[in-house]
């Protein structure tokens, strides 16, 4: 594990893993979509709209997972100052933001036929919106500061402060009276969803998770290469200045 903290070794691992992981993503998402549309029955109350759940719930889980990755990586940046931790945090932000966006939009599209409204300022929806805005803030911070080390440390502090939002999202449906339904998969008494709907949900969640990991690995490789390019361009400029002098 420690040897993977070396960027060069990490890059060779990514080169090996990416083709296999791409295949796994295609298989899982293909199977998940087949189960979602051709095997899963309509819900007795929600009818066909329950099919939105197969993308809405995994997207919401991965939006929170992405921020957890960023918060853990932020610890790595601030405590050990490891460059890979900063790379991991920076590259997880756009992916997590995309999943948060999908969760918000699909939730809104599911809410209109079920609740009669696209949006309500209840605790779950609002805290999810805050998560999306936190992602945007982090991306903006990384873009605003040119030097990667400084940007990484500033973003790490913001990420750790914002991490308080993750348990708020998770427990908002228990702490406050919300229009959003309470937890129905990961709860003390076991899932309340029928296995006919739960199986496609888990397969889609596995596919989304594999997609998240795949995109994160590719984005991390691109970020490591970007930093190398930046360093080489600085060397080039320095050499040119020396030659002129």
């Amino acid at each position: 594990m420690i040897s993977l903290a070396n960027p060069t070794r990490f890059l060779s691992l990514v080169d090996t893993v990416v083709p296999w992981l791409s295949g796994l993503v295609v298989i899982l998402l293909g199977t998940g979509l087949y189960l979602s549309f051709f095997v899963a029955p309509p819900d007795y109350q929600q009818g066909e709209t329950v099919r939105i759940m197969f993308i809405h719930v995994p997207a919401a889980w991965l939006a929170m997972f992405g921020y957890t990755v960023i918060a853990l990586a932020a610890l790595g940046t601030l405590i050990w100052r490891h460059p890979l931790a900063d790379v991991a945090a920076k590259t997880a932000a756009p992916i997590g933001a995309t999943f948060a966006f999908i969760a918000l939009v699909t939730g809104s599209l599911w809410g209109k036929p079920m609740w009669g409204t696209y949006w309500v300022w209840d605790a779950r929806l609002t805290s999810m919106l805050v998560l999306f805005l936190l992602y945007l803030g982090l991306i903006a911070l990384w873009q605003a500061i040119e030097e990667p080390g400084r940007a990484g440390r500033a973003a790490a502090i913001l990420a750790l402060v914002g991490a308080i939002n993750i348990p708020i999202i998770k427990f908002s449906v228990d702490w406050w009276n919300t229009l959003h339904q309470p937890a129905s998969v990961f709860r003390a008494g076991g899932p309340t969803i029928d296995p006919a709907l739960l199986t496609p949900l888990f397969v889609m969640a596995a596919g989304f998770t594999a997609l998240f990991v795949l995109l994160h690995l590719i984005a991390m490789r691109a970020e490591i290469l970007r930093r190398r390019v930046r360093a080489l361009q600085q060397t080039q400029v320095a050499r040119a200045a020396l030659a002129e002098a």
Binding site: P42, I55, I102, L109, P113, L215, A219, A222, L225
Partner: protein, 107 residues
């Protein structure tokens, strides 16, 4: 095509937004990776490398003419003494060092 019920437009819109968002994310990520690889390859082609980057190994130099000098056969080694004998000889030398004449102190 299967029937998605009276709320089909909401379901199609939800899946459509997801496909667009994930597609854009995949495209942006892969394209950025390719761009960085191309830029790095271009810099390396110009001879700008990292200090830690391994230099390519020079090709092996082949001798133009075959050497006519005969190689010396490796010298034969003396057969090693058995351990017991070695230990005995070592004890002998150590006892020789401890002889009274050798340990005489100046009077």
């Amino acid at each position: 095509m299967f029937d998605l019920g009276p709320h089909a437009s909401f379901i199609i819109a939800a899946y459509g937004v997801t496909v667009l968002a994930v597609g854009a994310l995949v495209f942006a990520t892969v394209e950025d990776d390719r761009k960085q690889r191309r830029t790095l390859a271009e810099l390396e082609r110009q001879g700008i490398r990292r200090r830690s980057a391994a230099k390519p190994a020079p090709p092996p130099i082949k001798p133009a003419v075959k050497s006519t000098v005969k190689k010396k056969a490796p010298a034969k080694r003396k057969p090693a003494k058995p351990r017991a004998r070695k230990a005995a000889s070592a004890r002998k030398t150590s006892s020789a060092r401890k002889t009274p004449s050798a340990r005489k102190t100046p009077s």
